[in-house]
């Protein structure tokens, strides 16, 4: 009988500026995950994937997986490894775990992700971000911190498609308001359009609320098969129906689109994941897309086919991403308001999708049965898409 991967449970620690060590954050998140499924114990876990990109630079720790395994009390026998795909690390862990449990290599895999980015001296993480892009060719141009790159992206979207600053601000407002009551989000406050429009400048046209913060945090989820899941939980099963990960370049000069607002690789990843999941854009009831910047979400809703190419600004500006809209997006607050500890973000998205598809989300989308999560990583150099559903692919 075919084995179908499901996300069984998940939890995250409080995200933000944390007075804690990297391994503390993973322990807190593991506890939150097992609290979500009291019938499952650490001894039941046979595989561990750790997603962390900055452990090496900010915590002086490579080969992180055994460290985390020991601290969270699991003793892996099928897989114990770390993945580094920066912002897509958590999602990549889930993709790999799906392959491992469906092939029978593993049965119950803990996918964890986390970063401790705030170091004792503030300069270090900002400086270390030179490693986030192609070091010799983009880092040397001061592109480690992403606001300039996404300023150029926003300007080209405005040039080619006529999107406006108000439409960008509408994304920030929607996502902050989703997070206002999220107890683990970094930013827990409501935001008005006026506040967003009058915020301090970062790199024009981007202002404060257009940019996600730097975040300490961790998240943990459990990936297993549907048959095993039934032994531990009587909640509805949430399947990982299809996935894709597309990388066409690394250096910014080789960006695959006609311009920076043409995300050809995002579209490719979406189409491949839709095909694998046997769904179409119209089937997506809820999405968690990579809103590292407000402009990112505007372009993502276009490339995933929630609206026509070039109409993302209007889509987001007319409340289509809010509850009651065509596709509610980033219903837990997204990167903009939850924060973005790189390796943890894809797991945070998976947990929100688990809750949405089980009907227990804070901002529940009625009738949510199919959902999409997405990450971009590097200088917009890689795109990762997962499609979750209440039924397996047949």
């Amino acid at each position: 009988m075919a084995r179908h991967a499901v996300i069984l449970a998940g939890g995250q620690c409080k995200w933000g500026v944390r007075e804690a060590h990297l391994v503390d954050l993973f322990q807190e998140a593991a506890k939150a995950c097992f609290d979500d499924i009291p019938t499952l114990k650490p001894k039941d876990v046979d595989g561990l994937i750790v997603a962390s990109s900055y452990a090496g630079r900010c915590s002086f720790q490579v080969n992180t997986a055994p460290v985390i395994a020991e601290r969270v009390g699991v003793k892996p026998t099928s897989i114990c490894t770390r993945v580094d795909v920066l912002c897509a690390g958590g999602s990549t862990g889930i993709i790999l775990a799906k392959g491992l449990v469906e092939s029978g290599v593993a049965d119950i895999v803990m996918v964890s992700g986390g970063e401790k980015l705030y170091t004792p001296q503030k300069w270090e993480v900002f400086y270390s971000e030179l490693a986030s892009v192609d070091h010799d060719w983009d880092g040397t141009n001061g592109m480690g911190l992403p606001p300039p790159f996404f300023s150029l992206t926003a300007q080209e979207h405005m040039m080619h498609y006529g999107s406006t600053k108000e439409q960008l601000a509408a994304v920030s407002v929607a996502n902050y308001n989703y997070a206002a009551t999220n107890p683990v989000a970094q930013m827990q406050k409501t935001l008005t359009l006026e506040e967003a429009m009058n915020a301090p400048s970062v790199v024009p046209p981007l202002t404060l609320y257009d940019c996600c913060p730097i975040t300490d945090g961790a998240a943990v989820c459990i990936i297993t098969t549907d048959e095993i899941a039934k032994k531990f939980s009587d909640r509805p099963l949430v399947y990982i129906r299809g996935t894709a990960q597309v990388c066409l370049n690394s250096v910014s000069a080789n960006f695959p689109g006609a311009h920076l607002a043409d995300w050809k690789h995002t579209k490719m990843a979406g189409e491949k994941a839709y095909k694998a999941a046997k769904v179409s854009p119209g089937d997506i009831k809820v999405a968690q897309t990579h809103d590292c910047f407000s402009i990112s979400e505007v372009i993502e809703v276009e490339e995933f086919g929630f609206c026509k190419k070039g109409e993302g600004g209007e889509f987001c500006g007319s409340k289509q991403i809010e509850l009651g809209g065509k596709v509610p997006v980033n219903t837990d607050g997204g990167l903009l308001a939850c924060g973005h500890p790189f390796g943890a973000t894809g797991i945070r998205q998976g947990i929100e999708m688990l809750k949405q598809l089980q009907g227990r989300a804070r901002h529940q989308v009625k009738g949510a049965d199919i959902g999409l999560t997405h990450n971009l990583s590097g200088a917009n150099a890689e795109h990762t898409v997962l499609i979750y559903g209440r039924e397996p692919v047949k």
């Binding site: 400086y127 971000e129 141009n141 001061g142 150029l152 000069a253 080789n254």
Partner: protein
């Protein structure tokens, strides 16, 4: 000079904290790119077998996997397609204003090079402005040569600057 909090690193060079490339021949098979820069030339590698010009330079052709590559000149002048200006909050290692631009050098694979604009105050650039290559020195690379001691290997990097009208 002591490193705050880590006295054992006094006078030691940690390459893991170096924002510039390890350009020296001992550490980089594309060292010729940087030597060409020192002569004021922006270059990249071209495959002598299939003809593909790659950016950035390589040691194998990504298309046909030939190792038979040669350096070829890229234009030194181009036009700004779009640019951004960061005045406050410029990261360590860079000066305000930190200006980035997508530059069209007129030939593939350099139709949309994302680089930095230097020698230019904030608020004066326009889309379509002509810019030219600007090569500048960056700190020399201290290479431990054993009994010979530490040899300083000179380094340069590049950006673009407005063409004076």
């Amino acid at each position: 000079m002591a490193v705050l909090g880590i006295p054992i690193l006094e006078n030691l060079y940690p390459s893991t904290m170096d924002m510039w490339p390890l350009e020296a021949k001992e550490f980089n098979r594309n060292w010729q790119f940087y030597e060409n820069l020192k002569q004021g030339k922006l270059t990249t590698t071209k495959c002598k077998d299939c003809g593909l010009v790659s950016w950035p330079p390589r040691v194998i052709c990504p298309e046909c996997y030939s190792e038979n590559l040669e350096y070829t000149d890229l234009p030194n002048k181009g036009k700004i397609i779009v640019f951004s200006e960061e005045v406050r909050g410029v990261p360590l290692g860079f000066e305000s204003p930190l200006i980035h631009a997508v530059i069209d050098l007129g030939v593939a694979p350099a139709r949309r090079i994302l680089s930095r604009i230097v020698n230019c105050p904030a608020g004066v650039l326009k889309r379509g402005d002509e810019v030219q290559l600007a090569v500048f020195p960056v700190p020399a690379l201290p290479i431990d040569k054993g009994k010979l001691g530490t040899v300083m290997s000179e380094r340069v990097f590049f950006a673009f600057e407005p063409v004076k009208k």
